[in-house]
Symmetry: C2
Subunit: 414 residues, 2 copies
């Protein structure tokens, strides 16, 4: 499968990917896809009639400012739209290839457009599904004996996050202020967070949801999942350790959550399926998944201080490290009848692995600041400093091509 749009072998966005996003073109929000270094305006393609075969039954797919409506149509439609695009941009198909006027109207170089929030996110849920991460954090916050709570091996723990502060890659984050208690023998103090941290996560967007009072089973779950993005769940560790009991993280997390702009569909990830971990405890039947329920997605985190010209990679992890998979996430979330809506975001929780360099947060990488990282410039980092840029990237790869997510890149300002 090859496109008449040229791209090298290592692009994130070959014809096999076809991710969905929203960008600004001529001051207007446009639903788009990516091919190599180009952005394709799907509203324009729709207006030019290229989606007529699915539009007849479903109305417009792409003439909106966000993807929510397209998500609500379900995976049969998104699969078909992706297939139409793969055929349309195939090097052997003259239809668009030989129509210079149409090509000019819908193809833009990535450098000339700005990516925007692709979804109006209703609710945002964050899971806690890496056993290594839960164990590391538990050990630091509650001691080795209480590291993994008794419930952890029986269900995917999660909490509700804040959807208003989910932002696009590229948007700067202001260091939050808050209440902390650095000295447990003195009253709490107020000031800028001193333990600002990233969390390396992946998230999925719900496509078709479920009505209140009904559930989605593990077997049905993937038909309700549209696609995935990289998530940086910004965390203020000093605020968190003081506030989080007994109801969980609140101000420590809700000041910002950054996501990558391109939503990669599960269909594009299909060739990268892999088995999940062995479950140590027998799970209840509603959490039993068959086959290969997870994906081999390589993850990286880089830090670039203001003195640096290139980021230094501080973490290499993999999505398959997670104990619980997406099917379990969605089935557990709805097993009580909780409704979900197209565009709800469910993140995985920090994806740490078993090796030291696969830990997905500064908290774990520096063991709460006791083992600082040294950057190539000689600068030390216990947590993230003002002026630092954190870059997370993710991709799947086989011998022929790469399915990339691009990156989520965020600079911290004072």
């Amino acid at each position: 499968m090859k496109s008449f749009i040229e791209y090298g072998k290592v692009t994130n966005f070959p014809l096999q990917n076809i991710p969905f996003g929203v960008c600004e073109i001529n001051g207007e929000r446009r639903i788009c896809t990516a091919l190599g270094s180009y952005v394709i305006d799907l509203k324009m393609l729709e207006e030019l009639g290229y989606f007529d075969e699915i539009m007849n039954k479903n109305g417009k797919l792409f003439s909106y400012g966000v993807l929510n409506h397209f998500l609500s149509l379900g995976r049969v439609i998104s699969r078909t739209a992706r297939k139409i695009l793969q055929e349309l941009f195939d090097e052997k198909n003259p239809l668009l290839r030989d129509n210079a006027e149409h090509r000019e109207k819908c193809i833009h170089h990535m450098n000339n457009v700005k990516m925007l929030m692709p979804i109006l996110i209703g609710d945002y849920t964050d899971f806690y599904s890496s056993r290594e991460h839960a164990t590391n954090v538990g050990e630091m916050f509650r001691g080795k004996e209480n590291a993994l709570m008794p419930n952890w091996l029986h269900l995917p723990i999660a909490y509700h996050g804040r959807s208003s502060s989910i932002i696009m890659s590229g948007k700067e984050v202001r260091r939050p202020k808050g209440q902390t208690r650095p000295d447990p023998d003195k009253p709490p103090v107020f000031g800028p967070c001193r333990q600002l941290d990233f969390e390396l996560e992946m998230g999925f967007f719900v496509g078709t949801g479920n009505p209140l009072g009904e559930s989605i089973s593990v077997d049905e779950a993937e038909e309700h999942i549209f696609g995935m993005v990289i998530v940086n769940d910004w965390s203020a560790r000093d605020i968190q350790s003081w506030e989080y009991q007994p109801l969980g993280p609140f101000l420590a997390k809700n000041f910002a959550t950054s996501i990558s702009p391109w939503i990669v569909t599960l269909d594009a990830l299909e060739p990268f399926r892999t088995e999940g971990p062995k479950f140590e405890k027998e799970l209840l039947p509603y959490l039993h998944t068959k086959g290969n329920p997870t994906f081999d997605i390589k993850l990286e985190v880089g830090i670039k201080s203001e003195k640096m010209t290139e980021p230094a990679i501080v973490c290499r992890s993999n999505y398959k490290n997670l104990y619980y998979n997406m099917r379990q996430h969605l089935a557990h979330h709805t097993v009580n009848g909780c409704n979900t809506r197209p565009g709800d975001l469910m993140a995985s929780g920090t994806i740490s692995g078993s090796t030291k360099d696969s830990r997905g947060s500064m908290l774990e990488l520096t063991w709460r600041g006791t083992e600082p990282l040294t950057l190539p410039t000689g600068e030390e980092r216990k947590f993230i400093e003002d002026g630092d840029t954190v870059i997370m990237s993710a991709y799947c790869e086989n011998k022929e091509y790469r399915i990339g997510f691009g990156e989520v890149k965020t600079k911290i300002i004072p």
Copy 2:
């Protein structure tokens, strides 16, 4: 102040109230207010020109299906709109009083309309601001020594809830299923919740919000608050006690949260201001509030089993029992730069008082089922059973009139 629309002295909705809601009239969503037993169609009034003086600058106020746009305009506009309505419906004002055609177009009896969700709720936050409730629950879940966490007297604890499952009074709630561990020596089990509970709360809707990275101070807070509703934060106690550590309640709460249909403005509550509690610990300056920061709002909870014809009152509490007030809620929520949007809902947490009959949940009223309540029919209740209807009501009262919230009424189905 008296209206030409007649109502008795004990109506929830005298001319002094003017709450805002959304109802269905002729199959259409209509923003409305309530007067006595009548609903006033504000879109119709707007079309008839009665709001022209504020519309010139602000565009349409009420020609939408939800109140979010009206909230976003801020309290100066909502105050003015309320005043226009109070003048228009005053018994001495002939303008509408003597225009039978207009009256017929905009005034409907409450029995003939259906109330709908008035707001598109972005994010929902639930505080935990009753000291008595936090102490009671803490004692039952963690023992007397760890009842009130060390942070509780220093900041208003809160967690993010789920906005998708916020429902209107009148909508039935299906008993949730989930994972629980009734016997700590055996593996967890799956099945219908056996400890279904209500939580008596009040919530406020954010009017004008704040941008990401900025904060709202305690002194500015009330200008950002549009009004209040009654909230029943449904809780599955057996699911909660098993899942809630370390990240807080999740499936135990997100299956349903019921709210009352009429939003009562802070302007209507103004005559019922009262001082808050004394703070045991000196609070950080960002939480210092001046004057009378809270309101004297009487609260009641009734239970009606299928055998009963009238509900039995099981709890009488008061909003002023809360330790932390709304100004502190909004200031704390945004102190880290978390943005809020018009229509965000922030609930108080269960409002328990110091007496046994003022406890705002079955968990506390029956002390986790160890002291069951006996209903007038002789039926015993440890928690809420299938077929039970829970009714919460709230009002302020002085010698002249009552400012009522109406009620939130929910039946539990299997």
